[in-house]
């Protein structure tokens, strides 16, 4: 007698089914969202870069006593002024790196595979770095100081790649601004935080899936040439776009952007053994969480949301620091989001 074949779904764990993983649980009991691919414990040297949401991961790692590398530390022991100057925000003072092409640009510069342009912007008697327009609130005192600071940051960024075991990168955007003739990319549209917008020099485009995948693959490949042991942990920022230049409504533009970023992360994590993806985006944005973790403007992530994301992160790592009492969540008001300046261009605050 032939036994009918058992469905392959029959033996799947509870977390594979929406009903048992989501519908019948409190959102706060949803668990096992992430199984880490490689070890990350309190001794593992880890660096963090990316969009504004990446700042939460670095802060949480630091607060939990993980070995978060700060390759460009502030003077002394971190007084209150430091975040305003972008110290202790990322592992080097790069400012936000929103796109995968911008990450590739930073990696190429740090690796010596390309030379940063000489472009600097003057604001009165002060000088701004177009690639880090907000790291000095009032700009640099001189061109020489701005140039020296950029060299320090590039060296620090290169050192962070060399010394890290895990490189955490949070993907934020697919829309970007670049120099039309030279090709290099700006983190923020010129004329927004600093500089002057010139339509003959500054162009806009939107990265598609292929561009995003290729540039992130390039960046990871180049970083692993510098440090063959480097592992990469990707996340996607759940923070919606502040504004879109695509011509679309900001909601579908956000969906398109986040979908591309999420798909690229999935593709790289599926094909490269040294790449993993942590679902911070899903914890905030999935319908299972009902928008609970967004602030009233439905864009910013509230402190409880950040705390929930990081609790999932540390629970999955199952390291001893994760069992220590959780520190207070970082205050989202302290997160430096340059993209938010785009709304100010229209007088929206």
């Amino acid at each position: 007698m032939n036994q009918s074949p058992t469905s392959p779904y029959a033996d799947l764990p509870d977390h594979a089914f929406w009903k048992t993983a989501v519908s019948t649980r409190s959102m706060f009991d949803i668990s096992a969202l992430w199984t880490p691919r490689f070890a990350l414990d309190a001794t593992t040297p880890v660096v963090t870069y990316g969009s504004c949401f990446a700042q939460h991961i670095g802060a949480a790692l630091r607060q939990r006593g993980f070995n978060w590398l700060n390759m460009e530390p502030p003077a002394g022991d971190a007084p209150r002024t430091d975040p305003a100057f972008h110290y202790n925000v990322f592992s080097a003072r790069t400012g936000n790196i929103y796109t995968t092409t911008l990450l590739r640009q930073w990696v190429r510069w740090a690796a010596g595979a390309a030379t940063p342009p000489d472009e600097f912007w003057t604001c009165g008697d002060r000088v701004k770095d177009p690639f880090r327009p907000r790291i000095e609130p009032d700009g640099f005192a001189s061109l020489a100081e701005a140039q020296r600071s950029r060299r320090v940051t590039l060296n620090s960024f290169a050192d962070s790649i060399r010394r890290a075991r895990v490189f955490v990168f949070t993907l934020g955007l697919t829309e970007r601004w670049h120099h039309l003739t030279e090709g290099y990319e700006y983190p923020l549209c010129p004329g927004t935080a600093a500089g002057t917008f010139d339509p003959t020099l500054h162009g806009f485009d939107t990265l598609g899936f292929a561009d995003t995948l290729e540039s992130l693959w390039d960046a990871i490949h180049l970083m692993r040439q510098i440090n063959p042991d480097l592992r990469v942990l990707l996340t996607v920022s759940p923070v919606p776009l502040t504004a879109t230049m695509s011509g679309d409504h900001v909601i579908p533009a956000t969906t398109l952007s986040k979908s591309i970023l999420r798909a690229v992360c999935g593709e790289l994590a599926r094909t490269l053994p040294h790449v993993d993806y942590f679902p911070a985006y899903e914890i905030i944005s999935s319908p299972a969480f009902r928008g609970t973790f967004f602030a009233p403007n439905q864009r910013d992530v509230a402190a409880k949301g950040v705390d929930c994301v990081m609790q999932h992160f540390f629970d999955a790592l199952d390291t001893s620091p994760a069992h220590a009492p959780a520190p207070p969540p970082p205050d989202p008001a302290h997160v430096i989001c340059e993209e938010a300046l785009l709304a100010r261009a229209k007088g929206l605050h």
Binding site: P74, A75, G76, T81, D82, F85, A141
Partner: protein, 242 residues
């Protein structure tokens, strides 16, 4: 008679022989301890000093018309790292301003402000340029730094360096020596290589004390005038004994 308190660190040594001749000026000092050991008790007594002149034990702060703190206001900067070239001038200025607000001198001033009105607590910075205190940070003098701190702390800062330092704050070496002149009050510490010309000598102390007296006069006379115009008493009511 005006009653004045000077609290400080080893810098006060140069003032000793002049203070002795002015019984209305009391001096308490914690040499070698900066001023971090000097405390104000809840009932307003000054404690924690090692040396005193013209003062009973644990003087009551509220009996003084003015309290001066003469110490190294730049002392928090000794914790700054060496590689200052990494930082922008704007960041260093902001950093220095913050650090200076957390100096032992200003902490002591804040403690005194529980007893005396802040305008009657005056900080006298140790007259050295920050470039001496922090190699590599020569762009800012102590006067620059204290000017940055002034709006944040709420206490007057008196620069009493006329004749002792150049207008840019550079000390005149003729008025400095390697170690404090304690006139036998405490063992004179050995000269330290890193304290090269770090303390005023007796001649420098004379100039400083003359400037100090002028500052007292300038501050006290208007205050007394106010008192005679039926303004509230300048002496706050001492707190009840514990």
């Amino acid at each position: 008679m005006v009653e004045v308190l000077i609290a400080g660190d080893s810098q006060t040594g140069a003032l000793f022989h002049r203070v002795r001749r002015h019984p209305n000026v009391a001096l308490v000092a914690a040499p070698g301890q900066r001023v971090k050991n000097i405390q104000i008790t809840p009932d307003g007594q000054v404690t924690g000093y090692e040396v005193q002149l013209n003062s009973p034990a644990a003087p009551a702060l509220h009996r003084f018309d003015l309290a001066y703190i003469y110490a190294d206001m730049a002392e928090p900067l000794t914790l700054m790292p060496k590689r200052l070239h990494r930082y922008s001038a704007a960041y260093l200025a902001a950093h220095v301003t913050e650090r200076l607000q957390d100096s032992h001198s200003i902490r002591l001033a804040r403690a005194m402000a529980q007893v005396l009105p802040p305008r009657r607590i005056i900080l006298i910075p140790k007259p050295i340029p920050l470039s001496r205190a922090r190699a590599g940070f020569a762009a800012m003098t102590l006067q620059d730094a204290t000017a940055r701190v002034q709006p944040h702390i709420g206490f007057p800062i008196a620069h009493l360096t006329s004749g002792i330092c150049a207008p840019d704050g550079t000390p005149d070496p003729a008025f400095y020596e390697n170690s404090a002149d304690w006139l036998g009050e405490v063992p004179k510490p050995d000269a330290k290589p890193d304290h090269d010309n770090d303390h005023l000598n007796t001649r420098g102390g004379d100039l400083l004390f003359e400037a100090f007296k002028r500052d007292v006069a300038a501050r006290f006379i208007p205050a007394r005038g106010n008192r005679h115009r039926s303004s509230p008493p300048t002496h706050p009511t001492p707190p009840p004994p514990p």
